[in-house]
């Protein structure tokens, strides 16, 4: 157990009030794990169906996480502690925690959003027949994400990573009776799996760097820092690790699962596909930042390009969606790309990227939960069936507006500060093309956000249901998250000392600067987008006003650039219909044939042996009996019953023996 004292010129406080929380940070992981078990075994018998365990556990975890963050607020330093798990040959596996500023921030994010979702689900999922199971998986997921966040070694991280994947699958397919939902769950799982394969190879590569002795992240970084590894190796390892990010954080080309994952219940979308699981990919890059920095330039360039494509492409797709959750899904894709792009800018980008992750978690979760509230009220996801809800659902309206403005990046809400930071860093790194991409995407983001708000809340209600405000268990979290959205942005504001940058940084604390012209530019762009959205969608029209002018582009966007179709035709169909069928045929005919054939041969053998046993062996045994019988039959004539016969025999015998004994012996 050791507290790393000084790192790269930064001095840390030796002890703080929060140090106990840091040293026992594993409790944060344990709480939801225990609650998952409790809900699983006791949930159905508890009043309230077990939700109380989950809420209590996550609530306690949230408080604990605040404690952990407090340590860093007071200027404390990173902490690492582990216990030995087991050793295979030279490889030494451990269970441990690595708590630094990044971890602290992530803990707060995860537990806060998880708590909001837990409370929200009380209302949203009420009456659901698998309510208890929902909470079990929800708690388990939280535990898994927290494992990833606090893990100090690669294997533990991988374990948490994979458990998250399973929980995501289970939650997306929560209403699996509808085939669409189970299809979406499988798609999500398999697509992230495709990203996990290079990820695992990347992990192996990193372990190889230490000579297969340890999986500890610190040791790996240390070994890489010594410089004995070829840059190409490091680059390839970094690229492989990025594969995991591409899968989990839904970057191009593995982004296809996230929109479909909206088939799951909205609280799930809020927790997993907005704030936490998809953020895990970004966290991965941050945690293993040394690898990326020591790799060749082209690796980070690839990362930037992938992120840029995702950001712009997803933003464009969000314009044409009718399903409110899909809009938010594509928005998430776009914002995640922002974060990844930020990280690709190097050391300066680390703080900016994670700050955006931090703020985005809050306002995106807020937006999703608001959307869920709307969906719950009108029983439909489609915005064409909404409208005019401003009057019937005021709390939802105002909170959603706050979230939307934050997403668009309006001062002083959270999104503004984080996006601004990213722009500043892009400018400092002289990545002009990325700066432009960020700006254009921001404009489009503001546009589709406004479109969404307009279509949902303004005009007249077009649907069939009777919308009313949601119960307090649902609006409570909305309000809480809205407050957070307003507040957290200020944590990174340069004018207020940008404390966030003092918690999450790489090697040195960089002073956050406020560049006025960039701020003006971004605000102008956001306002432009918002205005366009307001104007175009104020009045509801039968057909989307952009559809006609955009023409074929609209079609392209509506079909999601035909990427899904491409995957289906090029990958899914050949594998499923041709290869799988072929393998199946091989299995049924050849392998089963061999097995059955072996069985037939054995049976034949057995019959042969049975015949042998019956005829030869039993024959021999019976024959022996028969011989004995016949001999006895023949010999019985010796028994004449006549005593004198016997006497004759006796005397003959005596004479013979006499001769033998006297003459021969």
């Amino acid at each position: 157990m050791n507290v790393l004292a000084a790192e790269g010129g930064v001095a840390f406080e030796a002890t703080t009030n929060g140090i106990w929380f840091v040293e026992h940070a594993w409790i944060v992981v344990l709480l939801p794990l225990v609650s998952a078990a409790l809900i699983l075994f006791l949930g159905s018998r508890t009043p309230g169906k077990g939700a109380v365990y989950g809420i209590a556990a996550v609530g306690a975890a949230f408080v604990f996480s605040i404690g952990v963050l407090w340590h860093f607020v007071e200027g404390g330093g990173p902490f690492e502690g582990s216990i030995d798990w087991f050793t295979i040959g030279p490889l030494h596996l451990e269970l441990g925690i690595l708590v630094d500023g990044l971890t602290g921030v992530m803990l707060v994010v995860v537990t806060a959003v998880s708590l909001a979702v837990h409370v929200y689900s009380l209302g949203y999922m009420r009456g659901d027949e698998r309510f208890t199971w929902f909470y079990v998986v929800l708690s388990l997921f939280t535990a898994a994400m927290l494992t990833v966040v606090v893990s100090n070694n690669l294997i533990q991280l991988l374990v948490g990573w994979e458990v998250m994947g399973i929980c995501s699958y289970l939650l997306i397919g929560h209403w699996w009776e509808v085939k669409e939902n189970s299809d979406a769950a499988i798609k999500a799982f398999i697509t992230t799996r495709v990203g996990d394969i290079p990820f695992m190879f990347g992990i192996i590569a990193l372990i190889a760097v230490t000579g297969f002795t340890t999986t500890n992240i610190g040791e790996v970084s240390h070994e890489l820092g010594l410089g004995g590894v070829s840059p190409l190796f490091v680059s390839v390892a970094a690229l492989l690790l990025f594969g995991g990010t591409v899968g989990k954080s839904a970057q191009f080309p593995l982004h296809v699962w996230l929109p479909d994952a909206m088939a799951g219940p909205t609280p799930v979308s809020a927790l997993i596909h907005a704030a936490t699981m998809v953020a895990a990919g970004v966290y991965l890059i941050g945690r293993l930042f040394e690898v990326f920095l020591l790799a060749d330039e082209w690796v980070l360039t690839i990362v930037s390009i992938v992120a840029a494509i995702t950001a712009l492409g997803a933003a464009l797709l969000a314009i044409v969606q009718d399903d409110i959750k899909r809009v938010l899904a594509y928005s998430t894709l776009s914002q995640l790309a922002y974060m990844v792009a930020g990280l690709s800018l190097g050391e300066l980008g680390l703080t900016a990227g994670f700050f955006h992750l931090f703020t985005h978690a809050f306002f995106k979760a807020l937006l999703f939960l608001c959307a869920g509230s709307v969906i719950h009220a009108v029983h439909s996801n489609n915005m064409s069936e909404m409208g005019g809800l401003r009057k019937s659902m005021p709390i939802t309206f105002w909170t959603m507006l706050i979230g939307s403005l934050a997403l668009a990046g309006i001062i002083p809400l959270a999104g503004f500060w984080s996006k601004d930071e990213l722009l500043v860093v892009a400018d400092e790194e002289h990545m002009t093309w990325l700066f432009v991409v960020f700006l254009v995407t921001a404009v489009i983001t503001a546009f589709y956000t406004m479109r969404m708000v307009m279509l949902t809340f303004s005009g007249e209600y077009k649907g069939e249901a009777h919308p009313h405000e949601s119960p307090r268990t649902m609006t409570g979290p909305l309000v809480a998250l809205a407050a957070a959205t307003v507040g957290v942005g200020l944590l990174g504001a340069p004018q207020l000392n940008a404390v966030f940058g003092k918690w999450v940084f790489y090697e040195e604390i960089h002073e956050a600067v406020f560049v006025p012209w960039i701020a003006v530019l971004s605000t102008a762009g956001a306002l432009l987008g918002l205005a366009a959205g307001y104007v175009l969608y104020r009045e509801r029209k039968a057909q989307d006003p952009l559809q006609a002018p955009m023409g074929p582009v609209w079609n392209l966007l509506e079909h999601r650039y035909y990427i899904d179709d491409f995957y289906m035709r090029a990958i899914v169909r050949p594998v499923r219909d041709t290869w799988s069928a072929g393998v199946n045929w091989f299995n049924q005919v050849v392998i089963d044939g061999i097995v059955n054939g072996a069985a037939v041969i054995t049976r034949g053998f057995a019959q042969l042996i049975a015949w042998f046993d019956r005829t030869v062996i039993d024959g021999a045994v019976n024959g022996a009996g028969e011989v004995a019988g016949r001999t006895g039959n023949a010999l019985r004539y010796l028994q004449s019953g006549n005593v004198q016969w016997y006497a004759v025999g006796l005397f003959v015998g005596v004479i013979a023996l006499a001769v033998v004994f006297i003459r021969v012996v």
């Binding site: 004539y637 004449s640 019953g641 005593v643 005397f651």
Partner: protein, 100 residues
């Protein structure tokens, strides 16, 4: 004064006659008589050697043999009489219940 081989041959003669009698006679009592002959032959042998070796063992055992022979005849006749009672015949050829 008497040469030993002569005595022994006499004994042998008696014995062989007894053997023939045991094997060939039909009447059970005849068989018993033949057995007596054999016992007597043995006795003669015993006494002869007692004289040759000038020891009393032979004569003593000859006496015992006589006693045993007497007992045996008593029992044997009792059995024969019993046999006669149940079967009305003491022809040994007909006493063959243990025949196959």
């Amino acid at each position: 004064m008497i040469r030993l081989p002569l005595v022994l041959m006499f004994s042998a003669l008696l014995f062989s006659a007894g053997v023939y009698g045991v094997l060939a006679r039909r009447n059970a009592i005849m068989v018993l008589m033949a057995i007596e002959l054999m016992l007597n032959a043995v006795n003669v042998n015993l006494v002869a050697f007692s004289a040759l070796l000038q020891q009393m063992t032979g004569q003593v055992f000859a006496l015992f043999v006589i006693a045993v022979a007497a007992a045996e005849v008593g029992i044997g006749l009792a059995i024969v009489i019993l046999l006669f009672r149940t079967r009305e015949s003491i022809n040994v050829d007909e006493v063959n219940l243990l025949k196959w």
